[in-house]
């Protein structure tokens, strides 16, 4: 059986950017800031492309929810090897309060519409750090979930997944259809080559709205404030091991 795979692609502020809080404390400055595909989603896309290269997958559908700029993010996934993109357009206020619960409902609806067998998502987005979407999508569909995956193998029609858990690793097996969330060590994502970037421009992106899928995106939380974390006092440099140990002893730390 050849699988149809849905991959989630979130557009986030690039991981290397030092973020700034808005002066009115309503959020983080995003205008004019470099954005890219969420690093965990890049890993999810790479895994899907590898499955296609192993002939385990027949089609990869990349999805992104958000403003028009998300189409750039989808192009990145298409350049890496996804076959088609779906952009779920969410703007303005709705986008500011768009949460994993909403995205999960959208992904679940698409999974059924597109008859996919596997959904691969990043384990968390590096902006909201929620780590929820895969689990919630699996719940809505009543599919099994294999979160924080560092290895995925197809075995007797099931997926055998190695998960990164607190004390080490855990192996589970899930029946298809299933939802998997990718951890950092699942793979090393490829760079899109220029010819592939050019080819990606010709791949189709369909635009839909949450309402087309019957999903209500009204907010479930109210953000009261977003603030800078407390800054640490500047420390001191010591010259020698003895000085370091003396100071630690004086502080009562050793």
């Amino acid at each position: 059986m050849s699988m149809r795979i849905l991959v989630g692609c979130k557009r986030v502020i690039d991981y290397a950017v030092r973020i700034r809080i808005k002066p009115d404390k309503t959020g983080v400055v995003t205008e004019g800031v470099k954005h890219s595909l969420n690093p965990f989603d890049e890993i999810a896309v790479e895994e899907a492309v590898r499955m296609k290269e192993k002939k385990l997958c027949s089609e990869i559908i990349a999805v992104s929810c958000g403003p028009t700029t998300c189409q750039e993010t989808l192009r990145t996934a298409l350049a890496m090897g996804a076959d088609k993109g779906i952009h779920i357009e969410v703007d303005g206020k709705d986008y500011e309060t768009l949460q994993p619960l909403h995205v999960s409902k959208i992904l679940a609806a698409l999974a059924q519409q597109e008859k996919v067998d596997l959904i691969i998502l990043g384990k968390q987005a590096i902006d909201d750090d929620a780590n929820q979407t895969a689990q919630m999508t699996a719940a809505i569909l009543d599919w099994p979930q294999a979160t924080f995956a560092s290895k995925i193998e197809k075995e007797n029609g099931n997926l055998k997944v190695t998960r990164e858990v607190d004390g080490g690793l855990e192996n589970i097996s899930v029946k298809l259809p299933a939802v998997v969330s990718a951890d950092l060590r699942l793979n090393e994502p490829r760079y899109a080559t220029l010819p592939n970037i050019m080819k990606a421009k010709k791949k189709p992106i369909t635009v839909k709205k949450p309402s087309d899928l019957g999903v209500d995106v009204s907010s479930r939380i109210e953000v009261i404030s977003v603030e800078d974390p407390p800054t640490r006092e500047a420390g001191t440099k010591v010259e020698s091991v003895d000085e370091l140990l003396e100071k630690l002893k004086a502080l009562g730390r050793i």
Partner: protein, 338 residues
């Protein structure tokens, strides 16, 4: 006389329960023992201001139930034994939690923000059609919570509008609750059909270590790419053993294969806040700082004076770690408090 006052008491108790429906804490346990983050989750639950019920699900729960019932502030323990709970798969646990929620109408459901809690809570939340709140670091009141976003570089305060609030809480921000001598009453969790034929637990490959557990250790020594090889980590282990410290690592050290990934400290690894954190050969990328910057005292040892780690370190030593770490191990006996 006695009967009527008892009836009154019951009535009061009933009204009390009706008004304050309480918080359910999902206990995490492994090999018959409570995982310490459960006690932090109980502390968080107590801050929500109503009764605390703890749910223990597993294949053999009796030792965990007797342990967790001693936690101060716990009013009741629910237990559920079932072979289907082997490996604590979320596909099996979710129907049990939903059944408990149906019976008791909790206002909050809480678990620790560990791999277990992060895996489970969002699945339960979606089944209840509510938006969960991850990795909470502070509770302002029953519906207002504080959490970090952008790898700990921003602090978000939010108000949850859903009727039931599902939270995972960061263990390092809630002290473990005390353990008393008397136990809270326990009862069987509501019966429900648990049939899971979609996911199967195979096995665990846990890293064995004699050292303290990373997330609860008072002292942590971490190594980065500067260690150059896995063998060189033994310099850190020698120092750690003298300090009774846990050993952590940066993502660079894990990716280079020096140490297993469960030692990683950072945004995508573990979050620690020990009394003493010693970063050795770690540059201090944003993602690493996210996992350790709430430590009480941070020491950095790095040969690059420009390394960002020095901006958060209380004490910094610009030096070659291969010279100074053995020197520290040798001299520390003279300084350490017995």
């Amino acid at each position: 006389m006695f009967l009527s006052s008892r009836a009154k008491l019951n009535q009061c108790g009933y009204l009390f329960l009706r008004r304050f429906k309480g918080t359910l804490v999902i206990a995490e346990h492994n090999e018959g023992k409570v995982v310490p983050i459960t006690y932090s989750a109980i502390t968080a639950a107590k801050q929500l201001g109503s009764e605390v019920t703890v749910l223990v699900a597993g294949t053999e729960t009796s030792s965990v139930v007797s342990e967790v019932s001693k936690a101060e502030g716990v009013n009741k323990v629910l237990s559920a034994d079932n072979e289907a709970f082997k490996g604590l798969l979320p596909e099996s646990l979710t129907p049990l939690i939903i059944a408990s929620q149906k019976q008791f109408s909790f206002t909050h459901i809480v678990a620790g923000a560990s791999a277990f809690g992060k895996n489970l809570i969002p699945r339960v939340a979606a089944k209840l059609d509510v938006s969960p709140i991850s990795d909470v670091i502070g509770i302002k009141n029953a519906d207002t919570f504080v959490r970090t976003i952008y790898a700990g570089n921003a602090i978000q305060t939010l108000k949850a509008k859903d009727a039931v609030k599902l939270l995972t809480v960061r263990g390092t921000n809630f002290a473990a609750c005390a353990l008393g001598s008397s136990g809270a009453p326990s009862e069987k969790a509501p019966a429900c059909e648990i049939k899971n034929d979609i996911s199967f637990w195979i096995n665990q490959e846990l890293s064995k270590s004699e050292r303290p557990e990373l997330t609860s250790a008072k002292r942590v020594i971490s190594g980065g790419r500067g260690l150059k090889s896995g063998d060189n980590f033994k310099l850190l282990y020698e120092l750690a053993d003298k300090l009774k410290a846990a050993v952590g690592a940066s993502r660079a050290a894990v990716d280079a294969g020096f140490v297993p990934n469960d030692m990683q400290v950072g945004q995508t690894g573990k979050i620690v806040a020990p009394e003493l954190y010693v970063a050795i050969g770690i540059s201090g990328a944003i993602q690493h700082l996210a996992g350790m910057k709430d430590s009480k005292t941070i020491v950095a040892i790095n040969k690059d004076p420009e390394a960002p780690i020095f901006q958060v370190a209380d004490l910094g030593l610009v030096a070659d770690l291969f010279k100074v770490v053995p020197e520290m191990t040798e001299k520390i006996d003279q300084y350490i408090s017995k």
